[in-house]
Symmetry: C2
C-alpha cells in the first residue's frame, strides 16, 4: 500500500487482517519510522493498533518489490508525480488498485486513467475500490461492503480475494467509470451537505441535497460512459450517503466549518487532512462543462470554495433551484 493516510492505513490493516503480507509506504519518513515502533499511525488513525502483518517502509521501491497487488492511496493531485518516481520499481505483473477518489486538474482524467497514463500499466490490470467505507469505522473492524471494479473480471476477482476478510466484503463490478465518478463527486456533495449543516439546516435539507447530488452525479457519469445502475449501488448512493451523513467524513466536516462562516484559508489551517472535494469540485466542473452537463450543486461548491461566495447564499440558491427539476 502506497500512502499512509487514514484510508491507506485502514486498507493496509484490513488486508493484513485478511491474511496478506502488507508493506505500507508513506511520504514522511519520520512518521513511518515512528509507526514501525509504536504500531500506531498517530497522525491519521490514532488509537488503532496495526496488525503484525503490516511492515511500514520508507522506501517505495522496497514496498513495490515483489508485490502482487499494489494499492495506491495518495492525494489525487500528487498521484502523477508519485507514479513518475515509482514507475521503474512497479512489478510488471502486479495488479494496481486505486483507493483514490478524484479527477486530475487540467487533464480531467480519472485516477485509473492517470495510473495508466503515468505508469504505462495496462487498463485491464487497474482496479478501483469504492463504497461506503469510512476509514475509522473499518479500522474499528465494523462490517463494511465495497465494490472492486475492473474492466477485466478475473482481475477484479483476484483483488476481491486479496482483501476479503472477517469485516470487509468486496464485490466485483465492471463499471470502472461509474465507480470513479461516484467516488469523486460525492466529496463535492459532502462539502455542500456540510455547509448546510454548518448553517443550521436540518435533515430535510440534507436529504434533498443528497438526492439532487446523486442525480447530478449520475448525469455526469452517464455522459462519460458509466452504467446508470452503478449510481444506485454501494459505490454510488452507498458511498454518497455514508460520506454525507457521517460525522467522520472529512469533506462533510470541512464544509461544516465553511458553513459556520470560516474562510477557506481558515478551514485549511484548522484541518490536518486533505478535503478532496475542494480540488475535485474544479475538475468535476471542468468535466461537466466539457460534456454540457448541468451540475448546480457542484457549481455552487466551486463558487464558495474558489470564488468567494458565502455558503449562506449557496444553500438558499440550491434549495430554491433544485426543486424545479423534479
Amino acid at each position: 500500500v502506497l500512502g499512509a493516510g487514514s484510508w491507506g492505513t485502514a486498507f493496509a490493516k484490513l488486508a493484513a487482517d485478511a491474511g496478506r503480507d502488507v508493506t505500507l509506504w508513506g511520504r514522511r519518513s519520520d512518521a513511518i519510522t515512528a509507526m514501525a515502533h509504536s504500531r500506531v499511525n498517530d497522525d491519521y488513525l490514532p488509537g488503532t493498533r496495526l496488525p503484525d502483518g503490516i511492515r511500514p517502509v520508507i522506501d517505495a521501491a522496497e514496498a513495490l518489490d515483489g508485490a502482487g497487488v499494489v494499492a495506491l492511496a495518495v492525494p489525487s493531485q500528487t498521484l502523477r508525480a508519485n507514479l513518475a518516481d515509482w514507475r521503474s520499481a512497479l512489478p510488471t505483473d502486479a495488479l494496481v488498485v486505486s483507493l483514490i477518489k478524484g479527477i486530475e486538474l487540467g487533464s480531467s482524467l480519472r485516477m485509473s486513467e492517470v495510473i495508466c497514463d503515468a505508469s504505462g500499466v495496462d487498463p485491464a490490470r487497474v482496479c478501483v475500490l469504492s463504497g461506503p467505507n469510512l476509514a475509522r469505522e473499518i479500522a474499528a473492524e465494523q462490517p463494511a461492503a465495497a465494490v472492486v471494479a475492473c474492466t477485466e473480471e478475473s482481475n477484479a476477482e483476484q483483488v476481491q480475494h486479496a482483501c476479503a476478510g472477517p469485516y470487509f466484503r468486496p464485490y466485483t463490478n465492471s463499471d470502472v467509470i461509474g465507480c470513479e465518478v461516484g467516488g469523486t463527486v460525492k466529496n463535492v456533495i459532502a462539502l455542500a451537505c456540510g455547509m448546510a449543516e454548518g448553517l443550521g439546516f436540518g435533515d430535510n435539507t440534507r436529504a434533498s441535497l443528497i438526492t439532487r447530488g446523486l442525480a447530478e452525479t449520475a448525469r455526469l457519469g452517464v455522459a462519460l460512459g458509466a452504467d446508470p445502475l452503478t449510481f444506485a449501488g454501494l459505490a454510488g448512493m452507498g458511498d454518497l450517503v455514508g460520506t454525507c451523513t457521517s460525522p467522520l467524513s472529512r469533506n462533510r466536516t470541512f464544509g461544516e466549518l465553511l458553513g459556520r462562516g470560516k474562510s477557506l484559508a481558515e478551514v485549511v489551517a484548522a484541518t490536518t487532512q486533505t478535503a478532496e472535494g475542494v480540488q475535485s469540485c474544479l475538475s468535476v466542473q471542468e468535466l461537466a462543462h466539457r460534456h454540457g452537463i448541468d451540475m448546480p450543486i457542484t457549481e455552487h461548491v466551486v463558487r464558495v470554495c474558489h470564488e468567494g461566495m458565502r455558503a449562506a447564499d449557496m444553500v438558499g440558491e440550491i434549495m430554491g433551484r433544485q426543486v424545479r427539476s423534479e
Copy 2:
C-alpha cells in the same frame, strides 16, 4: 386537516403560513380543546406556536364543511374506519390529500386506494404528498421540498398552490404508486437502520442498509406499476435518507430501542407515537410475497418485530446477505 399528530399539525401550520384558512380536527377532544386555548400541540409538536389561520375543531363534519382541500393525517390502519364516519360530510368537489404512509393490512391497499374505496372519491381527485419532510423541522420553518402526486395533473397543481409557502416547496408528479410505495417501505428500512444503530453499527452499515433498502423498495414499486425514476427522487431516496438518518425519525428511534435489546412491548410502552413501520412491514411483506419480490430487509424487520428474532442476529444476516446482490 384531519389528524392532529405531528405531521398533521405541521402540515396545518405550513398551509396556514401559506395563507390558507385551516381547520384541524383531532380524535382526542380534550387535547383539541386545550390546543385551541394554548395554541400549541403539546403532545405531538411541543414548542411550536400554531398560526392564527388554524382553527382546531372537535367535530370532523365542521372541519369538512366547505373544505376545498381535505388533508388526511390519521394512522394508516384506522383510515378506513375514519372515512366511514366522515364519508357523508366530505364535500363532493373537494380534493383529498393523503399525508399517510402505509399499506392497509389484509387488503394490501395503498392509502390512496383505501381513500377511494372507503369514501367513493374519484381516484383523479386523490393526491399524495411525500418527500423528506420531518415534521419537527418543518414546524421550525426549515426549508423543505416535497412531491404532490396525482394521476390528474391539474389537481396536483391545485394542491401544490394550496400548500406552497415561504419554507415549503411542493412539486408535482404523476406517479402516485411510486410515491406511496416509497413512503411506506422507508419506514420499514428506517426501523432496520435504527436497529443497526442501537446495536452500535456505524455509518458504513447504515449507508449499505439505505442503499439496499432503496433497491428492494424500487423492485416492489416497479412490480406494482411505479416509475423507477420516482425512487431516485425526493419521494424515494430523499424521504428514505431523511428518515433513516434523522434523530427525529420515529421509526428510526423505535428501531434503535429494539437494537438496544428491548422487546417490542417495552418499546411500544416507552414511545408515545406510532412507528408506522411496525405494522407496515407486515403489509409490505404481504405485497412482496404476492408479487414474488425479494425484500430481505423487510423480511428481517418482520422477523424482529413479530417473530421474536433478535435484532443482533438480523443485522449480521442482512449485511452478510445484501452484498451477494451487487
